[in-house]
């Protein structure tokens, strides 16, 4: 029996692959790692497409799977960690300005994940909370702190001038 890639999945893939990649790149800090994770998570999404397609944001499923894979990797043996480290020398991370990437990578992990999911993948606070297993209020806190840290790292201290929230800016 032939196994064809559903056209609906192909359309989803075309739309979602770049935002998913950017979110993962910001989170893991390595293009090769993001590439690897995304390949695996998209293949899993395809294998479960009948279920994943009904997800409110299938790309959230893809990224959540990729992040879980990423965490699993770092729980593996020292040997495999050495392999990961060796691979870092051949990544293609220069597509993003090094100062921006450095600022993002300097964020605490959870802030980095929230910024990536909210800003680069465009998930709502609720959807981000679902991916990360935290409540939306916590997502908002991490987002505000993350953006503030980025602002400080990239532009130095700034004078507050309005009361508009980050949530409103993203909307």
């Amino acid at each position: 029996m032939a196994r064809r890639i559903p056209s609906e999945f192909e359309a989803f893939y075309r739309e979602a692959k770049d935002p998913c990649f950017r979110a993962l790149l910001a989170t893991v800090g390595s293009a090769a790692e993001a590439d690897d994770l995304l390949a695996e998570s998209f293949t899993r999404a395809l294998a479960r497409w009948d279920a994943v397609r009904h997800h409110d944001r299938p790309e959230a499923w893809v990224v959540r799977t990729a992040l879980n894979l990423h965490r699993d990797r770092w729980r593996r043996s020292q040997r495999q960690q050495r392999l990961l480290q060796r691979r870092e020398s051949v990544t293609h991370d220069d597509v993003v300005d090094p100062s921006l990437m450095a600022a993002v990578q300097a964020l605490p992990e959870r802030q980095r994940e929230v910024v990536a999911l909210r800003v680069l993948l465009g998930l709502s606070a609720e959807q981000t909370g679902e991916v990360l297993g935290v409540d939306p209020g916590t997502v908002g806190t991490h987002l505000r702190r993350g953006l503030a840290a980025l602002r400080l790292a990239l532009h130095g201290p700034a004078e507050p001038s309005t009361n508009t929230t980050t949530q409103e800016v993203l909307q």
């Binding site: 293609h92 507050p160 309005t162």
Partner: protein, 305 residues
Amino acid sequence: MNTDIDETIIDELREGFAPAGYERTARSFRSPSRTPYIAAVAVIGAVAATVVVVGGDGARSPALAWSPNPTAATAADEAAARAACASPDLASQSNRVVSVQGVAVARPADGSEPLPELPGSGQPIEVKGGDVVSTGDAVTVSGASGSGGAVPAAGSGAGSLGAPPTELPPLVSLDLRGNGGLAVFADDQWTFTCMLLSSGDGFETGPIMVSPTNDLPASDTLAIVSGSQSTWADGRSLAMVSGTAPAGATKVELTLPGQPVAQADVVGGRFSIWWFGSFDPSTGSIRALDANGSELATVSPIMQK
């Protein structure tokens, strides 16, 4: 919170990451930088010998064809391979897969072909639709024909590991050549070896073998870590090996008596290759080549003990 500043940061983030498109790095699927998730099947000299008696539905499938040089697998190929190997329709594809102590056999769902006898005995594991369940029926096995490799000792296989996962582990390697493919999925505990036949935009699934995994060689080493032999639905013998290659290797070259020299791509330090014929690990040679075609390492015979 300063709106202007927040907008600036958000815009900077979006614009800064905008050039990072997935297509830009799609080629890295075939680069040596891809990290294997795996632990592999067995070390040299303790290679799991596998006999598969049936693959695919030969009455309706196109003939499986082979070529000495591989076809680079794309992300879509990898996705299609995973989808096929995890197909919920597996049980209806006239395949039934059973693993016994690291030795896997497949047979038609209707049971028309008897299980081969292989060394040892243990708890068979049945794979249906990507779900693996213990059948509870003991299978006695003996005589892995043509393998020459040692079968893992009793207790090293399924019985001591518990049931294999109900979903495929990460893809380790995908060897595409002719109109066939060999996909190896593995994690620290289990290795799924899946034979594929190209069909339209996807694949038909041939035999899927399930076996326990052991450690990879400690460092970058040219080594074949698993080997198996099977029979395709048309009666032709199939052999397949999977292994590791040293850093810098982009291809391996396999030379076997009476066989055309075949090459396989190395991705993330791993390779796999299948061919028509028998699998005798006491013969032949395998070379690891860098991008310039220079030899990095060689092993002869292909499985030294």
